[in-house]
Assembly symmetry: C2
Homo-oligomer: 179 residues x 2
DNA sequence: CGTCTCCATGTGATTGTGTAACATTAGTGG
DNA sequence: CCACTAATGTTACACAATCACATGGAGACG
């Protein structure tokens, strides 16, 4: 696996019969990205014997719809609105399932969650987070090959999970005058 | 600046008249690392016109003493024990000062704070966090040169700050049988 | 010296984030 | 059908972070 692969690029203009909406730092067909994401998840759960229960499915649908990082309590509000339980563990358990199985990621520096842009692919995600518009793009990182990997090998540290996040300004917000 | 530089190595066996204690993934002279850290901070504050007030100094001393990531409320307990205020802003303000001026870092995936292992150096830190013993080693990262930097250039994203953290097992905990 | 201003500290109150514990229900497999 | 396990719902609580406001101290300046 090479290192570079910008998340939002993969969905760009994939089917001409849906209007393109701005998302991340590019545009994409939002309707199909929701249905594709859900279909992917259903397929993977069927294949691996996981249970994509109604709350979990709804939580994933909400993340795919929003297409941005959502706090656990925002998620809880939406789940409650959809008729599910109204206490924090409802949201946290659904999100835990989605994260554990690669359907979503947690953005640590925002304490928020986002649908995975590369479902199915075994990957170590990296995120670019615009501090002005809060959009998030998911890229593929290869931290084990870079400086962190060298440091780990030098000390004998065994990496199990990596958190790679960059805060800054997306192209649109740079143009828009945000400094 | 090259990419690799493991934090805890820099303090290894620096003065033979203090006993070496295990810290991070190596050993070092803990007593001198505390006094050195404080001296560095004092020097830098004097040079830049910053005020290393009693609470701030004590907070840094506590972080240097602990030599691991400390939650804000742990810090608050210790500050209260030292005679300072007992409300959250006391700890948060001291930590904010230390982080803003490079004397400490926040570990996002732990919501905790740790003394900087490379005070003075302008750097983008990366952390290796042992999930078993909770020790933390600070390395120097060069994320702008790796996959993240490529992704940013490809999309036009302007990086202002990076969060790079690796969770896993340190050498000692691998040997100790923790899986 | 007095005082003005800025910055830092102390405190109360509140919001946001995340878990522990336990009862109940719904699938799954014998 | 029964037993077992996983998932859900709820209560309660712990930890994380911020707002708003009052107080006090150090320097600048007349």
């Amino acid at each position: 696996m090479t290192s570079l692969e910008v998340g939002t690029d993969t969905g760009t203009e994939r089917s001409p019969d849906h209007p393109a909406e701005p998302v991340g730092f590019g545009t994409h067909d939002h309707a199909s990205c929701i249905s594709d994401g859900l279909a992917q998840a259903e397929a993977q759960c069927a294949a691996e014997g996981l249970r994509l229960t109604p709350v979990r499915r709804k939580a994933l649908e909400i993340l795919l719809q929003e297409h941005r990082a959502l706090g656990a309590y925002d998620m809880l509000d939406r789940l409650r609105g959809a008729g599910f339980g109204s206490q924090p563990p409802v949201a946290y358990r659904a999100l835990e399932f989605l994260v554990a199985n690669g359907f979503a990621h947690k953005i640590e520096c925002l304490n928020a969650f986002i649908a995975c842009a590369h479902p199915g692919a075994r990957h170590t995600p990296a995120f670019m987070i615009c501090r002005a518009c809060e959009s998030v793009a998911e890229a593929q990182a290869a931290p084990a090959r870079g400086s962190l990997g060298k440091a780990a090998r030098a000390t004998g540290f065994r990496i199990e999970r990596t958190v790679v996040e960059a805060e800054g300004l997306c192209p649109a917000c740079q143009d828009g005058g945000a400094q």
